[in-house]
């Protein structure tokens, strides 16, 4: 599939997955990929502290949009700020300040579960309606919470049967359940626990929240070693002799250990990727393991390239 076509399949892509799998990294890579294909992108961060400013070397995000990169903007969306926005545009400016200052929002949000989520998703919906960007990417909360985040509009439709919140919930459900407007991109790692969790999350999102699922992104995959590159000292010494290079015993030991480690991890990963494919009938896109603990601009670019290749192969 062409990247430009993929990026215009849905206006809103929600990137979701367990904590630590690289949601924000994938969000950044997808944004750069889409921008390269000519789309304007808006990234919406909904919780915690965003890693995006470190990746793009920009100031911290706020409720106002910030330019991250050519064609890529980003902003935060908090329930409090979304509520003020909502009340102000619905002629209730006077109570908005009081609701927040008195702490009543917390009580009301507890009384009406999903209230905070609907405020955030409602704002995403209005950003979509006003065509704030060709593609809006939402960096969703961590897995367990992502399910309730996406389920809350349906829950609210039952809990609040009349009034503006009901309408808001209905509008958000309409957005979420229309594949032309919205899809979820799940991110996982090729390891036992994240794979099990992503399978569970995928079924919960599709069956219970009724949101369309895009390809699953399998992050941090080791590329296979070329044939003949084995974890055997003997093979190594034979190769060294054949090409006339001296390799010390100590170096041979390190070289072989590193190959051994990589082959073992690769085997574990391969097994998990197979299991994911069997249990979850969704296309997969593998992103390479980058040998660095830092995700900065060069890493985002490398992953964006890999993501584009993955999309083209779909």
């Amino acid at each position: 599939m062409e990247v430009a076509h993929f990026c215009s399949t849905s206006h809103v892509v929600i990137v979701a997955g367990k904590g630590g799998v690289g949601k924000t990294t994938v969000t950044a890579a997808l944004a750069v990929t889409a921008a390269r294909a000519g789309s304007s992108v808006l990234i919406v961060e909904v919780e915690g502290k965003s890693g995006l400013p470190t990746m793009f070397d920009t100031p911290a995000l706020s409720y106002d949009e910030l330019d991250l990169d050519p064609g890529v903007r980003a902003r935060f969306l908090t329930p409090d700020a979304a509520l003020v926005d909502y009340l102000e545009t619905h002629g209730m400016r006077r109570i908005s300040k009081r609701l927040i200052a008195s702490g009543a929002l917390d009580v009301v949000a507890t009384a009406v579960p999903g209230m905070k989520d609907i405020l955030v998703l409602g704002k995403v919906k209005s950003l979509d309606e006003s065509r704030a960007a060709d593609l809006i990417i939402v960096d969703a909360p961590a897995a367990g919470h992502a399910i309730s985040f996406l389920l809350s509009p349906r829950g609210l439709l039952d809990a609040v049967r009349v009034g503006p919140i009901n309408k808001q919930a209905a509008d958000v459900v309409a957005l979420l359940s229309d594949p032309a407007r919205c899809q979820v991109m799940l991110v996982t790692l090729p390891e036992e626990t994240p794979v099990s969790e992503v399978i569970e999350t995928a079924y919960a999102i599709e069956d219970r929240a009724g949101v369309a699922l895009g390809p699953v992104i399998v992050n941090q995959c080791f590329e296979p070693l070329p044939a003949g590159v084995t974890a055997s000292v003997e093979d190594l010494m034979n190769d060294a002799e054949a090409c006339g290079r001296f390799v010390s015993e100590r170096e041979a030991h390190d070289l072989v250990h590193a190959i051994e480690f990589r082959s073992e991890r690769h085997a574990v990963q391969h097994e998990q990727i197979e299991r994911l494919g069997e249990r979850l009938p969704l296309p997969q896109i593998e992103l390479p393991f980058l040998f660095t603990p830092d995700i900065g601009r060069p890493q985002v670019d490398a992953l964006a390239g890999a993501l584009a290749c993955g999309i083209e192969a779909l």
Binding site: K49, I95, A109, V112, P113, S196, C243, F261, T292
Partner: protein, 385 residues
């Protein structure tokens, strides 16, 4: 790189009565909590681990099939199959059931069983108790306090829930108090008291406006809840104060779990600052999933060797060798970068003890793997091969 100091790490589980494992999502908090509990039990302490959301296979290993309100003992043969642990230790585990813990708290504090019933049946209460608005964190701390008070265990290790803001659990007791103290909702309970009737008119107006937005049913539930709660605040307040005191007590230790990745390290520092602001400090920093070193050669030299070998034309042996050098260079590079992060963070979080858990080539979900990590953490480096 500094190697783990087995001696000091050992005192972590032998000297504390409570250990709180915190850290950002995906760094392996639950696993580390289980490792620490297992080690304490092996040292002969009666230990309980409270987990919030364990991965299925780890839950199975710990014998945790369902959420529960009380710890269940793990049969000794399962965690000490070779009889190498000290005899008087016990190991118990529980997977926190937020709702039933909260129900018990209400029942225990209610003045009459009718009052308890009114609250338990209230829809607002059911939302509050269903793991919303920090309730999970608060109930985790509540359960911790209850078990600590009960005296059945020498050590309780608790895993903290993944939260939007990593230290929500520290703030949880106060948050519930804030909810109960909320001016507007406190006034809701006042109409029965004549002298506040005036204030309540303004409140009613405000609530009617809120009801226009969220529906009046929700507001009715809230009002009913706060009325039903009358007379119980004192008990809840005492409890919250006691939980806070336990978190600040010297017998409570904080274990910060992180990975050597930059984002996790940044969060670890953020954590340390937050804890410091609360007057607490990190007793141990555990850096999980550190890549092995694979010798000490500089990545640049290895890369140069790979490049030179790759230049050979029509020489598959040279290309295979180049691939091996490139691979070692990659691993050496990540190992060095990780260690640089770790060195920096060690000073910045001010942890007394820092320990490393290497990246294992398999996933951790049974007692033998927990033991393996435990021995990497607790056995002094020089006693290992």
């Amino acid at each position: 790189m500094t190697l783990p100091d087995g001696g000091r790490i050992a005192s972590l589980v032998s000297e504390h009565e409570v250990l709180i494992c915190c850290g950002s999502g995906g760094v392996g908090k639950t696993t580390i909590a289980a490792v620490l509990a297992l080690e304490a039990a092996r040292q002969g302490r009666r230990t309980c681990v409270i987990t919030i959301d364990p991965a299925k296979r780890l839950a199975d290993a710990l014998g945790l099939e369902t959420l529960s309100d009380a710890p269940s003992e793990i049969p000794r043969y399962r965690w000490d199959d070779d009889h190498s642990a000290k005899p008087d230790g016990d190991l118990a585990a529980m997977m926190l059931d937020t709702k039933s813990t909260f129900d018990r708290l209400v029942t225990g504090n209610a003045t009459t069983s009718e009052q308890a019933q009114r609250i338990l049946e209230n829809r607002f209460y059911r939302n509050v108790s269903g793991a919303l608005g920090g309730t999970q964190e608060y109930m985790a701390m509540e359960k911790l306090h209850e078990l600590h008070d009960g005296g059945q265990f020498d050590l309780i290790v608790i895993d903290t829930p993944p939260t939007r803001h990593a230290l929500d659990f520290l703030d949880a007791p106060r948050r519930l108090l804030r909810l109960l103290d909320n001016r507007i909702f406190r006034m809701l309970m006042m109409p029965t008291r004549a002298y506040l009737r005036v204030a309540s008119v303004a409140v009613q107006t405000f609530l009617r406006t809120v009801a226009r937005v969220v529906g009046s049913e929700a507001i009715d539930d809230v009002v009913a809840f706060f009325r039903a709660f009358e007379g119980m605040e004192a008990g809840f307040r005492d409890r919250a104060v006691a939980v806070e005191a336990l978190l600040a007590a010297p017998e409570t230790g904080f274990v910060l779990v992180t990975s050597p990745r930059r984002d996790a390290m940044e969060e670890a520092q953020f954590f340390a600052r937050q804890l410091d602001r609360n007057g607490q400090s990190i007793d141990a920093l555990i850096v999980n999933r550190v890549h092995p070193q694979f010798g000490d050669e500089a990545p640049s030299g290895l890369r140069a060797a790979a490049a030179e070998l790759a230049r050979a034309v029509d020489d598959p042996a040279a290309h295979r060798l180049a691939e091996r050098y490139r691979n070692l260079a990659d691993f050496r590079e990540i190992a060095e970068l990780e260690r640089a992060h770790v060195q920096g963070v060690q000073a910045r979080v001010g942890a007394t003890t820092v320990a490393y858990v290497p990246y294992l080539s398999r996933d951790v979900y049974d007692f033998s793997a927990l033991r393996e990590i435990g021995s990497l953490l607790f056995e002094p480096a020089d006693s290992r091969a």
